[in-house]
Symmetry: C2
Subunit: 453 residues, 2 copies
């Protein structure tokens, strides 16, 4: 009898798992249940769609259900919400949102790829029609439609992570004045102070108001029930719409109810084969936690590329293969207007928290050689372990190339290189791409010398 693989969730982890499983086992019966209307879309592209850089939301659809069926014989059931998992009976209950009917489906292997959802806003007035979150394609379309229909002048974003920074650019490009309210000091997620400082300058230069250490308390609604101001501990901020961007939380209710173990981060715990505490049930994507390869700790780091890799491993293993996903070092980058920021590994503060004797330093250099008129500034901060000399983390900011340069340091970090080994690396040089002394080599040299004196 044909073995059945069921997958819950069809965005990044789920579709990647399905494709890999099909590669490994051509005979498997593979079905994806997706509670939303879309599968396999570029969620990370949503801010660029909202900025107008991507001209229609349909372009975000990487593959359509029909393509999965025709090319890979993968069945996709849209608008189908899985309401329970029964590991004892090896079956799941699926509610069709269209018919309202529930069905039970048996499985041999199951992959949970339920993703994450925006952290909900719990302030009074949160049901207002002009309060938005941004994670799902439906949400991106809602924001776009609202902007088209209501032509808002002022948007307030609560939260200052990657999505907030990308949306600062998007709002501005759509002609909407944007204010970012952040409960902490630094924008851009886990940015180092040396990097965050520059990002705050850029926001201000681009006309975005950035308000740190600000906590929203309530919303002021107009007669139609729309938010017209956000009341905070730093005063009242008037607006025509609000983007609630305070991060995401993993979708784990289904897994938890089935007795699948959650990890210390609250996300689903898996081994390196992406198998959960219940044999035969795998998990992948934003609903899972990840091992940080430098600190050894479990982290919750919902990112598209990680979901993709985890899906690959979960799919291979669920189909009878043997693949591993061992973890991440926190490599990420984003763009905010003309600025690129990249990071990998631990920040100085995190490294201290993990007990390292920290060696750190930052340098300002340039993206191109001395004579090149398009030369732009680049800033690099390196964090190392004073005892072993090993690189623990790095961040780069700049106007060109910073995002790609971080990968060079991400590899050095994962290879366990010391600051001295990094300073001696043979990197490519040509005037349009680097100064004669590459900024990465300069940063390592300066840090190496500093620590000798």
């Amino acid at each position: 009898m044909t073995e059945k693989l069921l997958i819950i969730g069809g965005v990044a982890g789920g579709t990647s798992a399905a494709s890999r499983a099909r590669r490994i086992n051509p005979d498997l019966e593979i079905t994806i249940f997706e509670k939303g209307e879309f599968v396999s879309y570029g969620a990370c592209d949503e801010p660029y769609f909202l900025a107008g850089e991507i001209d229609s939301w349909e372009r975000l659809l990487v593959r359509k259900p029909q393509q999965f069926k025709e090319k890979q014989n993968i069945d996709i059931r849209l608008n189908c919400e899985v309401t329970s998992i029964n590991p004892g009976e090896k079956c799941i209950t699926v509610l069709s949102r269209e018919s309202g009917v529930s069905e039970v489906h048996k499985y041999d292997r199951l992959i949970i790829a339920t993703g994450a959802k925006p952290r909900p806003c719990e302030l009074p007035g949160a049901q207002a029609a002009n309060l938005f979150a941004l994670k799902f394609l439906e949400q991106a379309r809602n924001i776009d439609e609202y902007i088209r229909a209501h032509k808002p002048h002022r948007a307030i974003t609560v939260g200052a992570g990657f999505i907030s920074m990308e949306m600062a650019e998007a709002f501005t490009k759509r002609g909407i004045k944007n204010t970012v309210l952040h409960r902490s000091s630094k924008p851009g997620g886990n940015t180092e102070p040396e990097i965050a400082e520059w990002l705050v300058d850029e926001l201000q230069k681009q006309g975005v108001e950035y308000v740190p250490h600000c906590r929203p308390l309530s919303f002021e609604l107009d007669e139609k029930g729309l938010i017209r101001a956000v009341i905070t501990d730093k005063g009242k901020f008037e607006c025509d719409m609000v983007l609630w961007a305070t991060g995401v939380v993993p979708e784990v209710e289904l897994a938890a109810a089935a007795g699948i173990k959650l990890g210390p981060t609250g996300a689903i715990a898996t081994d390196e084969r992406m198998e959960t505490s219940v044999p035969g049930i795998f998990a992948a994507g934003d609903c899972c936690e990840v091992t940080h390869l430098i600190s050894g700790r479990k982290i919750f780091t919902p990112l598209g590329d990680i979901a993709n890799k985890q899906g690959w491993a979960a799919g291979e293993n669920a189909a009878g293969g043997d693949a591993r996903y061992n973890g991440a070092v926190g490599s990420m980058h984003f763009r905010c207007f003309d600025m690129e920021i990249g990071m990998t590994g631990l920040t100085e503060a995190q490294a201290r928290e993990f007990g390292y004797d920290v060696l750190y330093g930052s340098i300002d250099h340039a993206s191109r050689a001395h004579a090149q008129p398009k030369r732009k500034p680049v800033r690099i901060k390196l964090v190392a372990d004073r005892n072993t000399r090993r690189l623990l983390g790095a961040q780069i900011a700049g106007r060109e190339g910073a995002a790609l340069r971080i990968n060079t340091l991400a590899v050095a970090l994962q290879a366990g290189m010391t600051i001295e080994e990094i300073s001696g690396l043979d990197l490519a040089y040509a005037p349009p791409f680097s100064p004669v002394m590459d900024p990465i080599l300069l940063a390592a040299r300066v840090l190496s010398k500093d620590s000798q004196s």
Copy 2:
């Protein structure tokens, strides 16, 4: 008594050595003798000056003699040609090109940074005023002046290395129809066939004529003694000027005459401290050979960034410190029109030559995520050792990011990573900078899987 450090040559290696020596020893008497009119200039920027991208040749001057004197107390003697080194007496003879007078200068330490010079053209007619080479700033200025004064319509470049490719762009941007004649098949130096193929397409698309397997035999001169055609084994090519770009040779006559040992490449042999066979005499830059860290062989690879690193080590050691320069892996990149090409390590052919059981493969992917309208193609070729699985070499071509991406692979190569380790790397992802599966990870995955079947 103050110790004296003399340096022969003041472009990349020489000035880098002087600056580093001054840092290490504030009391040293440091003098640079430069036979030309300029020191410390961006020779690699010359094609961009000739393209009009850099608006004046003065911008290529990084630091002027006066700045060296005022800021670092380094003496620079321009138009001073060192005609002999006497290691027994620890002195050099210097001919002033201005006064015609020779002087003898004593040294405690000597650094030879005589660089390289264009391989001379030995065909009859090579003395013609419209035959040019491009290495020194004076030569770049000559070409610029000739173009301004004579408005040539057609230029022939003999040779197809980096300079030739950069000048193909420069000539085209100056409105000059360019033909590149190459004795071998592939343009762009040590390019892999998969990469070279794309580069040839790009040249043709941009209106540059590329003639492989073509050997120039003689020049046809007009009544003024100017070249009006290059006669080759593939016929006659008419032109208004010729760029002879068949590579450079190390300037070693002075060293050789002083009994300093040359290596197998014909360039000056040094140890990792950049000391030559004569104790107290160091060398740095294009006149030196380099250890290839993958093959272990000596190579001649005259590049600005290497000169800079060697100068640093030579300067530090000559001033009493202890620094090492252990070698290179052949990391380099260049731009030709809208195309970027990067390379590191061994090519497939070189790896075979060195006796490896070679595993290789190339993939075509993209520079950005699926929905991004500015997404451009990227091609990556990886070469690995089938037995150890270690990466031996990589090349990347593309329209954006290829040049910077090569450094990610250069580090993996230098860290001794296997294809499987590379395929599992945590690299940063965001839609404007990479597809969700980074092209580097995809290339490694595909190669890893191929080799299993």
